[in-house]
């Protein structure tokens, strides 16, 4: 059988090469992680449970900062967060799959009862707007860093009634700015998103005459330039000329931004102005003691408020069957609502820290988290 002679030595060598690479990698642990035999943590918190969260990707960067900061406070606790999206987060939470969720829109009238069942009572659902982020209306126009626009002008640009940058409507609000005779390319999100929902909600509330579409997470105007995610939108805006779109302020730093008309004044997007609008908005009533869902006053005329904001909620229960889990949730919520937690998130995600008034309002809900008795 001459034709079937095998090189057995070569065969062994080949298998050896294939496996040795994997062994090499598996041999050493991660340099920045403590050996598991650690034990005896001196951290103040008793929290040592493992909790999982899922939900909005908008919170991902803040959540990273929170998880990292929390692991410094409670070294034995493990917190994970899957940025599967708000819808996925709410579904997993109402199914009892995760201990907390992050969501860009509050639990709706169908989800709330499910959440209440999972948590064991109508007052047991905690919902707090702990992540507030201004949405910048960003554009790419040579030599122009900032423009003033009223809600009506913004609406007309995004529904393609205004198609040139030197349109009289824009020029009237920006006396002295040299506007080119250039086509406007509006850029929108191609994926369903909380950012789009908040932006369209703003347009339909603040410019109802010019924006006739309902608030929706899916961009309603067909035929525009669409890109995936905040990164995609920012990439498309900066990649083109005469483009305009909407994205988290923190990610739109290098682009020109629009000062939005509020009342008679124009407010530039800042975290402070964004936090102010949440402060100025009423909570939704009658949905549970610890449910702090807000009805944002998008059409506000109050000075110093920036109405184009994304509010993302942290959803949890006040009761957990497992004591270690309850402890961990409690200290984790405590951490993220604390001024250190909010500052850490703000440094990494550029969001607006919540005010002390808000924190005082949320504190009873966090204190109520306990093991089910």
């Amino acid at each position: 059988m001459q034709t079937l002679r095998h090189g057995s030595r070569a065969r062994i060598a080949a298998v050896g090469i294939a496996t040795s690479g994997a062994l090499l990698l598996a041999g050493c642990g991660a340099a920045n992680e403590p050996a598991p035999a650690g034990g005896g943590s001196t951290a103040a918190a008793t929290a040592s449970g493992t909790i999982a969260g899922a939900g909005a990707s908008s919170q991902q960067a803040a959540m990273e900062a929170w998880v990292a900061g929390f692991s410094a406070v409670a070294a034995d606790a493990v917190v994970t967060y899957d940025a599967v999206g708000s819808g996925g987060g709410r579904t997993q939470f109402t199914e009892g799959g995760v201990q907390f969720a992050g969501t860009d829109s509050a639990l709706d009238e169908e989800e709330l009862p499910l959440a209440q069942t999972v948590c064991g009572g109508p007052d047991n659902v905690v919902q707090m707007p702990l992540y507030i982020s201004p949405i910048a209306i960003a554009f790419n126009l040579d030599g122009v860093d900032t423009l003033k626009m009223s809600a009506s002008t913004i609406a007309k640009i995004f529904n393609k009634q205004i198609v040139k940058w030197n349109d009289p409507a824009i020029a009237a609000e920006n006396a002295g700015v040299a506007l080119p005779d250039l086509a406007i390319t509006p850029v929108n999100r191609s994926d369903e998103s909380g950012t789009t929902e908040n932006f369209t909600e703003y347009l339909s509330a603040a410019a109802p005459a010019d924006w006739t579409y309902p608030a929706d997470g899916v961009w309603p105007v067909p035929g525009g330039e669409a890109a995936q995610g905040t990164s995609g939108v920012v990439g498309a805006i900066s990649g083109g000329q005469g483009t305009i779109g909407y994205a988290d302020l923190s990610q739109a730093k290098d682009l020109g931004t629009v000062d939005v008309g509020v009342g008679a004044a124009f407010v530039d997007p800042t975290p402070e102005a964004a936090a102010a609008i949440v402060e100025a908005s009423p909570s939704v009533e009658g949905q549970g003691k610890y449910n702090f869902a807000v009805e944002l006053a998008r059409d506000t005329t109050e000075s110093g408020t920036y109405p184009v904001v994304l509010v993302s909620y942290t959803v949890a229960c006040t009761q957990y069957a497992d004591a270690a889990v309850a402890d961990t949730v409690k200290s984790y919520l405590n951490y993220i609502a604390s001024s250190e937690g909010q500052a850490a998130a703000s440094a990494n995600a550029g969001n607006a820290p919540i005010s002390d008034t808000q924190r005082t309002k949320f504190q009873p809900a966090i204190d109520a988290v306990a093991a089910a008795s």
Partner: protein
């Protein structure tokens, strides 16, 4: 619809009757090919320079001018058959060069962007406790290897055995329906495979089950059909003479398959399996919904979330913090490592194939 170009002419099949009136018997000198190429490049270069130089236009125009000139020259000197042959040679070579352009571009993009964080820390650290700069993908590398190896361990035997069944044993309705549904399976969108795995493990273990093995199952759903199709094709073209010779020597069928059929086609099979692994190792969506993402190392595929390179890369790209750069850099480096892993795998597969294949030539 490539069939047209390969249409057989029944008459030609039996004997490739060369045209009786033989054409000019001339022969172009060997140096004609580089000569025409240089001439074409110079002429096109001058013309393109006149309207504004553009490297893409220059290369494409040169290729076209070169091909046409060579064809015309060959037709005049050597006759139409040789000219056609030269034409096809030029076209096939250009096609290969064309296929290299995206490869070079992709690799350049990844390497130039990924090299910034290609350091020891990236390989030695996880993301636990890391905010902003620093950190690494050790946890994701380990996670990707574990999840993919598990998927391969499930998919390769199933795929290989199925292909063997289809080629060697299968006949009738069962084999036909397997062949057909394997084809259908190649069209399952990756996210649907992920959702299926989630639904499966939710039904088995209750909601909230996220662990490496679930991701492996999702990847297997995507990988099995690729393994079957590639292996089936390779087994089919093993010459029947080999099988018959083996049977004639009294070797039972199963040993014939293991000792003759599979070794003969092992190069193609490993190539197919490597393609299948490459297909799934970079999957993002199914792993995001089944395995999730963590910042720390998790070596147990049956308990808890794991980080994987594609999800890590996607997440770093899609949800960067402030400033963006460290996140984007980590995403590119993770992508670079993913490619390197597949390259190493490919190389290993080739070594294995060479070691196991019978020395026939």
């Amino acid at each position: 619809m490539t069939i047209d170009t390969t249409q057989r002419d029944p008459d030609r099949d039996i004997a490739p009757a060369p045209p009786v009136t033989l054409e000019k018997q001339g022969q172009l000198p060997r140096m004609i090919v580089p000569g025409v190429l240089v001439a074409a490049a110079v002429v096109v270069g001058v013309l393109v320079a006149l309207i504004g130089f553009n490297i893409g236009l220059f290369v494409i125009a040169t290729a076209i001018v070169f091909t046409i000139t060579l064809y015309v020259l060959a037709r005049a000197v050597e006759g139409s058959r040789k000219a056609t042959d030269r034409l096809v040679t030029a076209v096939v070579t250009s096609a290969f060069a064309l296929a290299l352009i995206p490869l070079v571009s992709v690799i350049l993009t990844i390497v130039t962007n990924g090299v910034a964080r290609f350091d020891a820390e990236f390989f030695g650290s996880s993301m636990r406790g890391v905010v902003g700069e620093g950190g690494g993908a050790y946890h994701a590398i380990i996670g990707t290897l574990i999840v993919t190896v598990l998927a391969a361990v499930m998919s390769i035997p199933i795929g290989l055995l199925t292909a063997v069944y289809l080629v060697e044993y299968g006949k009738g309705r069962l084999a036909r329906s397997i062949t057909f549904f394997v084809d259908v399976m190649t069209g399952i969108p990756s996210i649907v495979a992920g959702l299926f795995a989630v639904a499966l493990f939710t039904a088995l273990l209750g909601p909230g089950a996220r662990f490496g093995f679930a991701g492996s199952v999702a990847l297997s759903v995507l990988m099995i059909p690729v393994v079957v199709r590639a292996t089936e094709e390779m087994l089919k073209i093993v010459p029947n003479e080999l099988r018959e010779a083996s049977y004639a020597l009294g070797v039972p069928k199963w040993r014939t398959i293991i000792k003759i059929v599979i070794p003969t086609s092992i190069a193609g099979i490993t190539s197919g399996i490597t393609l299948a692994i490459a297909r799934v190792i970079g999957e993002t969506a199914p792993l995001l919904v089944t395995v999730g993402l963590v910042a720390n190392v998790n070596l147990n595929p049956f308990d808890g979330r794991m980080a994987t390179l594609p999800v890590f890369a996607y997440n770093s790209y899609a949800n960067p913090g402030v400033p963006r750069d460290p996140y984007i850099d980590r995403a590119w480096t993770a992508a670079l490592i993913l490619i390197i892993i597949v390259m190493v795998l490919n190389l290993a597969a080739r070594l294995i194939a060479r070691a196991f294949a019978p020395k026939t030539r």
